[in-house]
């Protein structure tokens, strides 16, 4: 990758869920905010035997992914989370330290690609699913991956999600205050608002401390901005078609 990368997507649909009530007025076009539902995303669309597997974070990601697939159909998908199931793996580590056995199902559900895997089961999907973590690009890594998948597919689903870190980690890593999940149906062409992203490498800045700037901008209706997820700078804008 060169020092500067430019991406352009057609934003066919977006869907945001946050664990606190979020007004939908004034948000970006072509999308929706799902009801907070008392802080646990509604996954009533799933049969109980599938629902029971979902953590609070899994419910959030699954709810936005499901809604985006209803709009855009089945498609290759990129799942991104910096820290994933941090509550689960921290509880397991505490259990191990106390000499307890690890729950097999908790262990299987805390691996980083578990949520992506469950979401592919929910939709009976045979499409490629990619699960990404951390890295210096933050959630923008998911857009780089989506650009690659769009070379082979007319549309791609990006799902980003995060939850507050267990207290023990908070002195060492930025943690969101709430749980959130964002789904985006991206296409390479066609009509709709254009989401443009440009990466400028090399600059050193502060990592997004709370919810990523891009997620804040979507709900506040701010159409352009600049984020520093790590050691790079990403400029982005949403233009009407």
């Amino acid at each position: 990758m060169g020092r500067e990368t430019q991406l352009c997507f057609t934003l066919e649909h977006w869907c945001l869920w946050r664990s606190e009530a979020t007004p939908s007025a004034g948000c970006w076009p072509a999308g929706e905010v799902l009801p907070c539902n008392g802080g646990a995303a509604d996954v009533g669309f799933l049969p109980m035997m599938q629902r029971r597997r979902l953590s609070p974070l899994g419910r959030a990601a699954s709810a936005v992914a499901w809604r985006c697939r209803q709009v855009g159909g089945d498609m290759p998908s990129v799942f991104f989370s910096r820290h994933g199931e941090s509550q689960y793996y921290f509880e397991m580590l505490e259990g191990l330290a106390a000499g307890e056995e690890v729950s097999p199902s908790r262990f299987s559900l805390s691996v980083h690609n578990a949520i992506a895997g469950l979401c592919s089961f929910h939709g009976d999907s045979f499409q490629p699913y990619v699960s990404l973590a951390g890295g210096t690009e933050g959630l923008f890594a998911a857009f780089l991956e989506a650009a690659g998948l769009l070379l082979e597919s007319p549309r791609t689903l990006v799902v980003c999600y995060e939850q507050p870190l267990p207290g023990a980690y908070r002195d060492y890593a930025a943690s969101p205050r709430i749980t959130w999940a964002l789904g985006m149906v991206l296409a390479g062409g066609g009509t709709g608002p254009k989401l443009r992203l440009a990466r400028v490498g090399g600059a050193v800045g502060d990592a997004d401390a709370d919810e990523p700037g891009l997620v804040q901008a979507i709900r506040q209706g701010r159409r352009s901005g600049c984020s520093r997820p790590g050691s790079s700078v990403w400029r982005w804008s949403l233009d009407d078609a």
Partner: protein, 89 residues
Amino acid sequence: MENLEAELKNLIIHTFELDGMEPSDIVSDAPLFGDGLGLDSIDALELGMALKKKYHIHIDTDSTELANYFSSVKNLAGFVVSQQEKNAR
């Protein structure tokens, strides 16, 4: 034995977070796995752990009879009783 079966049904509902399910929804001699209740192989491991914790019994994973013991609540109850009797000896 009926009390133990009811206890095991509650344990299954609690362990697998079967929201909205009542013990009476689980038929004692119906299959727990596959086409029955719908539990899977990870659930089998989880159930084994829950049984060990609650009843302090040993589960021999090499036993060829294990699949049979775990096939229904009724068989599971029989298995728990036989292991508890073994422990008492």
